[in-house]
Symmetry: C2
Subunit: 236 residues, 2 copies
């Protein structure tokens, strides 16, 4: 579990949680538990995705994947334990009402409507002809939902109101979409089956601009704005 | 997911939840969500335990295991989705405070202090000499914690007080221990490495009697009492 979590990831999701919590006017520390929860869900998904029966990857960030280092059984269980721990840390929030709401969002983002559903869609689509709408559905479920939830969880932890949360959700949706297009450009697949890298890059830039417009009226939007810019910076 | 959940299991865990909820004086229906949650956690654990990298089982209840029927990738993801769904249904409880408490207990029972931890202990012990204390630790973590949580979740859902919950916890601990000894007798391993079947059966009967003593003062203890008896009936 430690090997796969403490491995130098970019921590984009928890940074989004903390920056959103700050943006809605709360102390960033109010968001630390949901920030950990979304990162733990992300880490579990990487371990399971790397397993031989799925992507069969041997390295991640230039180090052996969890199952290459510790064997498949330990990797399976480390993933299971990290997913469980993600929900366990949400239970550590003192405010039961916030924990309840974040639990709902996290379960939705991780389950059949989110990451697992997206993975299954991708496996099924691999056997059929891929279309742009199917690819976008896969992206939204596999990646978009957790990125949106990372932002929303920060807003919930920061005691924001429904109007603020609606803007944060839109920000997260735009940004999650942009994030995945950038990933596809860097990996040379996915979106690049349907458009050139330049066009895809422009689409990602438009999405980031739309995301930033959603948060422009918040008092402390600057940190979140910088993370949105960072998503595009990866292309340079 | 449906194949592995709707497969004719005994449903001991959710029955414990409902019977405990009834025992503490609430309508049984108050316990339906935590009852589903504990059964979903149980079902996920069976799918993952059956995988080739762990027990490599080909059949369960005379039918092909999930990975034999649908392939390893789908089985891995079905387990992940069932674990996520277990937490997702807890989030559906209207009372945020009860959901919060049940979430804590469920994450504890499923994670490194419970089921995953017990599985890892078992893998490690397989390489060393097994002792009775190690075997008992494995049993408590792998099976006991979720059985105890199944009872406690029913008590929490039924709005019991701390004194009642303390008795329910003891009931669940005794019963979980008895349950696992009976399993070992039926499977012909585990406890039978350290004592004869007759002696193990007497130990299980003593544990069930201790469990029943804990709940004897409750008003509606009869249903839970019958489930405790059923654990021993399996030996006949």
């Amino acid at each position: 579990m430690r090997y796969s979590v403490l491995n130098g990831g970019k921590r984009i999701r928890p940074l989004l949680t903390l920056a959103t919590c700050h943006m809605v006017g709360a102390d960033e520390r109010e968001g630390i538990i949901p920030a950990c929860a979304v990162e733990l869900v992300h880490c579990y998904s990487l371990i399971h995705d790397d397993l031989p029966c799925l992507d069969n990857d041997e390295t991640r960030r230039s180090k052996p994947t969890c199952h290459k280092k510790f064997g498949e059984a330990v990797a399976l269980l480390a993933g299971d334990a990290l997913l469980t721990l993600a929900f366990g840390v949400v239970a550590e929030m003192k405010d039961a009402s916030k924990a309840h709401r974040i639990l709902q969002e996290l379960a939705h983002a991780a389950g059949t409507s989110g990451m697992v559903g997206g993975q299954v869609l991708e496996m099924m689509a691999g056997q059929e002809e891929m279309t742009l709408p199917i690819l976008e559905s896969i992206h939204i479920q596999k990646t978009g939902q957790l990125i949106k939830t990372s932002c929303l969880a920060g807003a919930v932890a920061g005691a924001s109101d429904a109007t603020q949360q609606a803007k944060v959700i839109k920000f997260g949706e735009y940004l999650g979409f942009a994030f995945q297009i950038v990933d596809d450009i860097l990996d040379g697949n996915g979106y690049l089956r349907f458009m050139g890298a330049h066009e895809a890059g422009e689409k990602a830039a438009e999405l980031v601009a739309s995301a930033k417009r959603e948060i422009a009226a918040f008092g402390n939007y600057e940190k979140l704005d910088k993370i949105a810019d960072f998503v595009l910076t990866r292309l340079r």
